[in-house]
Symmetry: D2
Subunit: 432 residues, 4 copies
């Protein structure tokens, strides 16, 4: 049974000013240990090593996504749009609030290192033996399944999924605003009030009234700038690379039955790939940082060095190059090995990429990668058909290769490296 709370509760939030909680169900979900754990998982992973202000957590972001979704639905209800299914309000709000609950510590890197997926974990947490599951069930025995179906995109009402996940969803709007606020860059300032006022439920989708086109253009350009200025910042990539190398090295050692001075549950299960839900929920960034700091004194030199680099921010330097082929990479690795460097740990190649608005040119009007504009004749048009600026930026695939390496080690091995390899990496040596 659903009880609205007698007087709404609020959270003070720097981005939305206040987050308003009007349902007892939402209030109880926020107070579960599983949701509180998100306080110990940073929203931007290692970006705080590049932008020191970016220490904000997935807890803050999740509240923000919930709040934007609440505002959208509230506007739909106030305007009485017939295409919005009113009975889906709480499902949508729960999915918005909980969509990130499966994120692990340093999510991006840990997922790559251990082949995990946070959306799977979100569903496991919703459906497993957790407080969240219990609270959802107490509301309606089918609720855990419903919310999980929205997350894994199999829910029967497409408009709910489209509201929660689309190129213009509450998730993206909150993170642009929040990440801009906490890093301090001003690229992510979008006119969210205007965008929200322009959203319309239309058949199975949430579309944008045509007169909101400029606000959407601005949003897409902000998103583009945030990707290049913040998310793909080479210093952040450098720290992610070291993070993944630590996970890789620790797993290698674990598999070789290395005798770790510090090893606590659930790390062994992480390495073995058999984490239970309850174990997964004990993984957080405090544990990872504690392990890394303790490991700076382990016997294995490589692990010790990597952990020390990460904890004390002595990151890899990088060289930027326009293009590189596989053969050249092989040659560099061999040259590294001959020069006494580790062919893999001491060299990483990275190619960041993103499409600011990657629309599909498919004919399917249901494609959830499109932003559709609704004109006054009730015609739907994909935004890049109408907007010159979106059309002109939507094909851009920018990005250059970056070679990452430990500068101190490279300097020691410098004279043993072939000239062409040294030249390729040389600019980096003058770099900071």
């Amino acid at each position: 049974m659903h009880l609205p709370i007698t007087e709404e509760k609020v959270f003070k939030d720097p981005v939305h000013n206040y987050v308003h909680v009007q349902d007892d169900l939402i209030w109880r979900l926020i107070n579960t240990p599983e949701f509180q754990r998100l306080r110990r998982v940073r929203q931007l992973g290692t970006s705080y090593l590049t932008f020191h202000g970016a220490e904000h957590s997935r807890f803050s972001h999740s509240l923000g996504v919930y709040e934007i979704t609440r505002k959208i639905i509230s506007q739909f209800e106030r305007s009485g749009y017939p295409d919005w299914p009113k009975e889906e309000r709480l499902v949508a709000l729960c999915a918005a609030l909980l969509h990130d609950v499966g994120h692990g510590p340093f999510s991006h890197s840990i997922e790559e290192a251990f082949q995990m997926n946070h959306e799977d974990w979100t569903c496991k947490i919703l459906l497993g033996d957790t407080c969240i599951n219990e609270i959802l069930r107490s509301h309606d025995p089918k609720f855990p399944d419903k919310v999980a179906a929205v997350i894994d995109k199999t829910y029967e009402k497409p408009i709910v999924m489209n509201l929660v996940t689309s190129p213009l969803d509450a998730d993206r709007m909150d993170y642009l605003l929040r990440d801009a606020y906490y890093t301090g860059v001003n690229y992510g300032t979008i006119d969210i009030d205007r965008i929200l006022r322009m959203l319309r439920p239309y058949r199975d989708r949430v579309v944008v009234k045509e007169s909101g086109m400029h606000a959407v253009e601005d949003y897409l350009m902000s998103r583009y700038q945030m990707y290049w200025q913040v998310y793909f910042h080479p210093v952040t990539r450098s720290s992610e690379i070291i993070l993944r190398q630590i996970f890789r090295r620790a797993k290698e050692l674990f598999e070789q039955s290395f005798d770790f001075a510090f090893m606590v549950d659930p790390l062994p299960s992480l390495f073995e790939g058999n984490l239970t839900v309850s174990q997964y929920l004990r993984l957080d960034e405090a544990l990872i940082q504690t392990a890394f700091l303790q490991w700076t004194t382990e016997e294995d030199e490589l692990l010790r060095d990597l952990c020390s680099r990460f904890m004390h921010r002595r990151l890899y330097k990088y060289a930027e190059i326009d293009t590189i082929d596989l053969h050249t990479i092989d040659s560099i690795r061999q040259a590294f090995e001959h020069a006494g460097l580790h062919p893999e740990y001491d060299l990483e190649i990275d190619f960041p990429t993103d499409l600011p608005y990657d629309e599909f040119h498919s004919d399917s009007p249901a494609s959830d990668k499109q932003i559709l504009l609704l004109d006054r004749y009730d015609r739907l048009r994909e935004i890049s058909e109408v907007s010159d600026i979106v059309r002109s930026i939507s094909g851009i695939q920018r990005g250059r290769y970056h070679l990452y390496y430990p500068e101190d080690k490279l300097k020691k091995a410098w004279t043993n490296l072939p000239k062409e390899v040294a030249d390729l990496l040389a600019p980096g040596l003058q770099h900071d």
Copy 2:
């Protein structure tokens, strides 16, 4: 030897926009493990449990204090004020940057629980076998002592200490602005540019030009509001109380040779009170949070319960009362014991207090607790002599007693409590 860096380096900062580093010495200090450790110590301790945005670190704050100090000195130099000793620039900048380097995890609570003092630790780190000490010494063998003397207020040049520590110092200005930014409250917005323009070196002190009086009034009122809205927020106090109880209980158990399932270095030394500098530097909030999460499954029920409360944010509730005497407190504790509650762990009494501007009415013009205004006839006057608003708020000692208790336990013991005790705590039961 001192090398300015060829091109200044910047940190993007949400509060000051950019932090400018112009000296190689400063750059190298920032990159020490000891300074990087401040990334793992939150500026506001447990306040993030009240204001979810307040996850910012002492690292950010320390850069901010450095930046404000840099701006003040730069203005003094540009204007060529004769009372500013130019040769003290780097000493002052280092002291500003490093003044918080001795803060431990959840500093306020851990200091209370283990009778430590962060300023002592700052000096130990400056003078001990650390990278910071090495870098300072490489600049000038006397530099570690000089900087430490500024911190412990024994430096020969009083104006340097007054710049770094006074009621209007860079430390206070940065934290007001930064804490307001990250919590999202707008009480802390002060006109820092104007205040900085109004500061003047005058004999042994930094004073304020009289025409800056209103900006200082505004700063003191902001400070007052921040204390009551943020720093003394009862929910934050509640979380600090639980934190201190955990430390207390863990220490009790440790002294009783309790067999902790999780116990890593340097925690034993913390309990024994014999931490070395190198051990102290391994204490951070990641370790404390990891220990607490691990301890949620220890054998001792009290420790388990307290850790679970802190980690999953099930805090103590509180009742507010105007006054209370020692005798009443004793009676409540006895009643608690009779009702099966713990007379100390289940009841804490707290009286927050602060003076917004606690000037000393001493005759000593050198008192470092005063804010002095300099008028156009070169007369110095203590601000509350001139400002009605400062005079009227400077005596205010506001604050009420708060009784904190675990609501769930209290409810179970309810019928066994005498009516007068239940009545005293009753309002809290309706409270959230």
Copy 3:
């Protein structure tokens, strides 16, 4: 008959982001010539001569007051508070929107110079032969009277008047925020969202939930600072003095049948004190500025000089003194006359004053000068009973006498002035 508009219209506003218009009645009122005229009346009179950004109009402010009132009522309706009379919504919105429609150009000064009152003019415009009257009548023949009754505080529902005029009304909240925004000072930043959430209709009044006390304290302190930093700024007072002197001199000349080279309707009626409503509505700041600029070439030297001072911003200088008595003033005026200065035009004495929160200590709970807090036991208490800070600032009567004079003229007459008069004004001569 009342028609809501099919899709709400918005105005982009820097302070409230958007102003939402949801009623056709409101939309039509905004589009009347009488309301559009407010675009040509500055919100802060001559303050733009002190703060160059403060060029904003009463049009902007009136929209802002409407928007805040709309938000308050909308919250009352959403929460279903029984003490709010729902049928009063449009009356309250119209009164909020139109409350300033009777303001003349440089309102403060023109009212003083010609003994007018903008609230009287507002009522005349509401009830006279105007487009506003016609639109209000078309809604309901009694509407012009109802709205006018709210303005002149004779309306039958006290809560409507209390909403529109009280120490915590939409008018004051908008002007604090707006004036802070446009001047650029940051003293006026209040947490309006929180204040609005804390307002409650309670019997005949709008009161504040007790937990909103700190936000109200902050509002009162902001108001205090804005008064001293902006509204009573001595440079603004200086420009107001000159403005009044121009009005006074022009009226004198008009009464002496002076032959003005520039004199257009409705200025003669202004001087004669018999403006009709339709004439009043042709008065705006464009006309006043045009007259002043044209008058810089009139025959009368005094008028010419005053107009040139105002238009080219060559304002009077001032000396600040603690106290002055009537006898001294007389002596100065005589000394001025002897020295060839004008005893009145060349000397003005000003004493600015304001009480930050001027509560009445009357026993009448209906006093509309009080801010009442509502606690959880449904008790009402006047805020200064509960808040130390409000109590401590509410008695402060600060302010000093300012003597204003034309520095250039004074310098010429300097040697003819008695020493004690010169000394009194001397500091000003070094002043800028």
Copy 4:
């Protein structure tokens, strides 16, 4: 002779926080009647009829341009860049401050209506019998000519002109920030601190360090958005059209010796095209608005109607069409005439256009329309060579034709209009 002022003076500014005046010359120029007149000329002309907050003046903007220029030069001096000619500081600052001093009331429209050019008037004011000229001459007899040469781009030092006028100059940076602030749109928020830090004097130009590329991209995109959201807003265009029609009609009547009830100097000279400098300086927006309001009661119906539309904001409606040819326009005008409408006053066709970054594909590296990036190998590259996003937006010529007409008149003539004309304009009738 040049005197720095003993203590710098500041203006509080909402955009730059403070504008710092450090030279007596600058201070005296600001206090001239000619510069003070800019307070009575709005920065954005009629845009306040679309964005009610946009009431800011060219006075504010001119101070802002000066302040940005001061910051750039100060950074050049501090860094000791050899390519910056230090002796040009004051020439550059004066040109920055005074570059807009020749703007007339509603500058854009009045220039079109009377074939004037504000840069010519700026030079006439600098070189004529004005206070500005006198002050510049008192500094150095050649100064008026020098500053005027910078304005009309004939100065001997190209870098000074490039600093004052280029696609990335202080003028553009200030107006983007200022117009965004006062309208309330958030498209114009650029990271000006970063851009300023990245500027370098390089031979004859000011170029951008390559690492500032993203900030410049962001600036160009902001500029693009501001053009479409603010500067080319169709409602603003509508008000400009009416303004031009008023000027045109008044001039026609004047040439027909119409007996204006209101006609004051210098309007006759404006119509005759023989304004002197001293007359030009008496033109301001107060006069224009006063004339228009007085003209709402003139004998000529067309003039009366147009003035009433402008003053009471009853603007023309518009229809948007993709393309239109001259022949069609002729037919519409004829149809209008047959239907009793005025073929020209009742129909205006408008095609707004702008290139976000209109680089020249010339080979001349000195082209002042280019933004050049300086890489670490000291190579200069035009930004669109390096930036995908700039390349992709630099060709965009967006914009559609707009037909403007008086809706009320059209409705009356509706049945007399041919169907194809009615259809073309029809969508507009449903428009608001």
